[in-house]
């Protein structure tokens, strides 16, 4: 028996203990924040909660119910969000991504080795992370039918990215096309999707779930030497089936000398056995070999000259690799062809650039004037740009661009800027002459300055011809000049100003670039400098150098002869051509006998500035006063003389006649 006193004491003890526990727990939670799921949920259960991640606003709401149902229901938030352990609440936004590898080290390792992992660590925006396939707070076992990785769902999960038309399929180098479509029609797809057979092969069965590798990688489950092993994961007794063709054992022992499964059973399209590589092209050519083949709608020729295709750079590419979407099971495999050829499915990087470019923007806007890949590269006769026959061979580039950009053509008509007669002017420029007359394929063509695929207006900061990018664009060939320029007063790295600083084309123009030693260039450069340096240029023309230049001769000193061309520096800079230590040597370039006194000549003198050049000002006005004074005195004298002189002329005439008649009279008298 227990005494009542004892009971009440026990009760008090228990109560006390309880309170202490609750109190200390409260204290503990307050002092050591974010250690408990409920602390996290205090904020994250709010379904309107927003947070910032990598500059984007996203919902950071966590659905407690989903989390409770998931396979991770018994984990604490900080088990996964380990970076938030002991963090002050509210924690900072933009938390680092969860590292699943803490627990799932093996899977993580495989993922990292695979294509997905590699793209992910490269920062490819299209690369999948763990969450892409497994979800985040709603992860289930792959045996759970609610899981995103449940076998029946796998084709659709992978298809999110690998279905036709998805960005990955369009922009990344994925050699196979119509993967999902072909799979669902294959025996595997049929078994899985129509018959509900969970044992049917899904994407992950052949490609493995985490370490997806290209078939060219020897470690890949679909590498030629591994395919038999991969297939025989399910098809264990396959030798028995193939006994007619393949002798037992060989399969396992010397797989490399045997045809691989996929040689007969096309991947994804499994069951549709094919025996000849070239068959697809032959299928197409059954019709397209006919020179009279015409389209029904617009009667354009659909004839394909296979010899042209075979001499092109795409000689080893099958028709269906570009004309994707054909269905070999149809009588006319191309009857359901709706998609145009998308070059970017192989040329992904170029495709990305093109989409950014002005050309790509127009194409995206369905502009009828927009050029497509084939406009510049041709269709079946695609050639590499080092092939002189290629439209994109450097010497052919100006004419290629001229198709639209020549005056009067569609691009030139749309263009409203100040650059006119681009093609003609380019042809006359040093670049154009180098290309067409001297045949230098290293000369800059349109594509060298404007880039081949990412042409953009100069107003676009990404453009190669944007004011801020021009020096580096020209510097790709004229690197030494760019280095000089970058150290000069005209470089933004040296001069900190809000005003525009000149870049290459401000002096050299863009399409009419001339040799810097040509007479015309030497003469125009002075007015080019004068566009900004107005006063200094006009006073230059008051000196002998300027006057001779103005007459059209290039021998006297021009701006760049004294100031330098690309390495212009303020005269206060010791490295300047005109610094105290260098100026005499600079004069001596033309005046071998120049000395310190000689260098004191005012090369930008004007007699109109009494502040800066008082001596010249007063000399000029002294001389002018003398001139005007002399003319006033002499002019007055002359004007006064004139009327009297007229009279004197008459007087003289009269007197001379009188004298003559006197003479005549005298002689008669004689």
């Amino acid at each position: 028996m227990t005494s009542p006193v004892y009971i009440s004491l026990r009760k008090i003890q228990i109560e006390f203990f309880l309170w202490v526990t609750i109190f200390s727990l409260l204290l503990f939670t307050v002092s050591a924040a974010a250690q408990d799921n409920s602390d996290c949920m205090m904020c994250h259960e709010d379904n309107t909660l927003k947070g910032e991640k990598a500059g984007k606003t996203i919902s950071v709401f966590v659905d407690q119910k989903k989390l409770d149902a998931s396979i991770h229901s018994n984990l604490d938030c900080i088990s996964c969000h380990a970076d938030l352990k002991d963090a002050d609440l509210p924690h900072e936004e933009d938390v680092p991504p969860v590292n699943c590898g803490i627990c799932h080290g093996d899977a993580q390792k495989l993922f990292d080795e695979g294509l997905h992992g590699k793209s992910f660590s490269r920062g490819d925006r299209l690369a999948p992370s763990c969450q892409t396939c497994h979800g985040s707070h709603d992860i289930f076992s792959s045996k759970d039918s609610r899981s995103k990785t449940y076998p029946l769902k796998i084709p659709f999960l992978c298809g999110m990215c690998h279905k036709e038309g998805a960005p990955v399929q369009l922009q990344r180098d994925i050699p196979a096309s119509h993967i999902l479509e072909n799979y669902s029609e294959s025996i595997h797809g049929e078994g899985l999707l129509r018959k509900g057979l969970l044992v049917s092969a899904t994407c992950a069965s052949c490609h493995t779930p985490h370490r997806i590798l290209p078939h060219t990688d020897s470690r890949s489950s679909i590498a030629r030497k591994n395919i038999a092993a991969t297939c025989s994961n399910c098809h264990v007794e396959i030798e028995a089936v193939h006994r007619k063709i393949i002798k037992g054992e060989l399969w396992e022992k010397e797989a490399h000398i045997l045809p691989a499964c996929v040689d007969c059973h096309q991947p994804h399209k499994v069951r549709k056995v094919f025996y000849e590589q070239g068959m697809a092209d032959k299928d197409c050519l059954r019709c397209h070999d006919n020179p009279n083949l015409k389209a029904l709608d617009d009667k354009r020729s659909l004839f394909v000259d296979i010899s042209i295709l075979q001499s092109s750079r795409h000689f080893n590419i099958a028709c269906s690799q570009c004309h994707s979407g054909v269905n070999p099971s149809h009588l006319r495999p191309c009857d359901n062809l709706t998609q145009k050829v998308d070059c970017a499915s192989c040329h992904a990087a170029v495709g990305d650039e093109f989409q950014i470019s002005m050309h790509g923007q127009l194409l995206a806007a369905n502009d009828p004037n927009a050029p497509t890949c084939s406009e510049c590269h041709g269709t079946h006769y695609v050639l590499g740009r080092r092939n002189p026959l290629a439209l994109t061979f450097p010497i052919n580039v100006p004419n290629l661009c001229a198709k639209c950009h020549r005056e009067g053509e569609k691009a030139a008509v749309r263009y409203t800027g100040s650059e006119r007669e681009i093609i003609e002017r380019y042809t006359e420029s040093i670049h154009g002459k180098g290309l067409t007359k001297s045949g230098l394929t290293v000369t800059a063509t349109c594509a060298d300055c404007h880039t081949a695929h990412m042409e953009l207006s100069h107003t676009d900061p990404r453009s190669s011809i944007n004011h801020n990018n021009i020096a580096s664009t020209c510097g790709r060939c004229h690197h030494g000049i760019e280095e000089q320029y970058n150290k000069s007063v005209h470089s933004r790295a040296v001069t900190n100003t809000d005003r525009d600083l000149p870049v290459c084309n401000d002096c050299h123009t863009s399409h009419t670039i001339r040799r810097a030693d040509s007479e015309g260039f030497k003469l125009t450069i002075m007015t080019q400098c004068g566009r900004c340096h107005e006063d200094i240029a006009s006073t230059y023309f008051d000196t002998y150098h300027g006057k001779v230049s103005q007459l059209g001769y290039t021998k006297t000193a021009k701006c760049y002869d004294c100031h330098g061309a690309h390495d212009i520096l303020p005269t206060t800079d010791p490295a300047s051509h005109l610094s105290r230590n260098n100026v005499v040597a600079t004069c001596q370039k033309c005046h071998p006998g120049a000395n310190r006194q000689f260098a004191g000549y005012f090369t930008h003198a004007t007699h109109h500035d009494p502040e800066k050049y008082p001596v010249l000002f007063w000399t000029f006005w002294g001389m002018t006063t003398l001139l005007i004074g002399t003319f006033i005195v002499a002019g007055m004298h002359t004007i006064l003389w004139l009327p009297r002189s007229i009279r004197w002329r008459r007087e003289l005439k009269r007197r001379l006649e009188a004298a003559e008649s006197q003479e005549v009279t005298d002689s008669i008298e004689e």
Binding site: T543, G593, Q597, Y601, V615, M623, G635, I646, L656
Partner: protein, 285 residues
């Protein structure tokens, strides 16, 4: 025979200028026009005229060569004249005083001031035409204008020709700028003066219009001279030395050649004046 010739050429003429003086004047004309043309192309380089002319002259270097060559001729004219003065002093005068202060001096003397005063009176109809002597005051002015011009333009021109040499003597560089202004503006004054005032005074004034050939032929009809320079004429008659100065006129072919040269020089002069006026008024900057 002599009578026939004199009848043919109508009148006896008076020899006013020596052969040397006439040759010097022709050299002066050629060099002066060359200097003016080539120099003005630089001075007015901002006109389209200048560029055209410069190219006609064979480019700025060729123009510069012509300019310097003409300058050498002009210096030569100047020094030959000085030497001629020394020779004259030795042969015709006993002392410098006689040469410089005698009746035929080129220096201004009291009579010139009187002539000037009387001329102004005459212009205004307040008196008779003064009795001008061998040299009138405006001829003396032109004569000394050349002295002044040769000194001012010549010295600055040499500075511009050899700037490296002159600066090596210690002349500051800015003096080259000053020399440029003086050279150019004094040249403008000289050109403007010669092609307007001098042209008028000697050729274009109605009594001589269109030109006075005396500076080329050296001779003038005696009757005309008698009326033009009565003082010298009377003095010669009184001293009986007139006969020494009487010569026969040049044959017409020579006169025609002189006229061609004279007109060419006049046209060059006027063209330069028109160009200067155009450049100063319509294209000045």
């Amino acid at each position: 025979m002599a009578n026939i010739i004199s009848a043919e050429y109508k009148t006896v003429q008076f020899q006013r200028f020596s052969r040397l003086n006439r040759v010097l004047h022709i050299m002066m004309i050629v060099s002066f026009i060359s200097l003016a043309l080539t120099g003005m192309t630089l001075k007015f380089s901002y006109t389209s005229w200048a560029a055209i002319l410069s190219h006609i002259l064979g480019g700025f270097e060729s123009a510069g060569f012509i300019h310097r060559f003409a300058a050498v001729i002009m210096f030569s004219v100047f020094f030959i004249h000085i030497i001629d003065l020394i020779r004259m002093r030795r042969k015709e005068y006993n002392s410098w005083k006689e040469l410089l202060l005698g009746k035929n001096t080129m220096l201004f003397n009291k009579k010139d001031w009187h002539d000037l005063r009387d001329s102004l009176k005459w212009f205004l109809g307040l008196g008779e035409r003064p009795q001008y002597g061998r040299w009138t005051y405006w001829e003396k002015f032109d004569y000394f204008a050349v002295f002044w011009g040769i000194c001012v333009i010549g010295s600055t021109g040499l500075t511009l020709w050899f700037p490296e040499f002159f600066t090596s003597l210690g002349i500051p560089g800015w003096l080259i700028n000053v020399a440029t202004i003086i050279h150019s503006d004094e040249a403008l004054l000289a050109t403007g003066f010669i092609f307007t005032v001098h042209f008028f005074n000697t050729h274009l004034r109605p009594e001589k219009f269109p030109m006075d050939l005396v500076i080329f032929s050296g001779r003038v009809p005696l009757e005309e001279y008698k009326l033009d320079r009565p003082k010298e004429y009377n003095e010669l008659v009184e001293s009986g030395a007139l006969e020494e100065y009487l010569v026969e006129p040049y044959p017409p072919i020579v006169i025609r050649a002189i006229k061609v040269f004279g007109w060419t020089a006049l046209i060059f002069g006027f063209s330069i004046i028109i160009w200067i006026i155009y450049a100063m008024i319509f294209a000045y900057r």
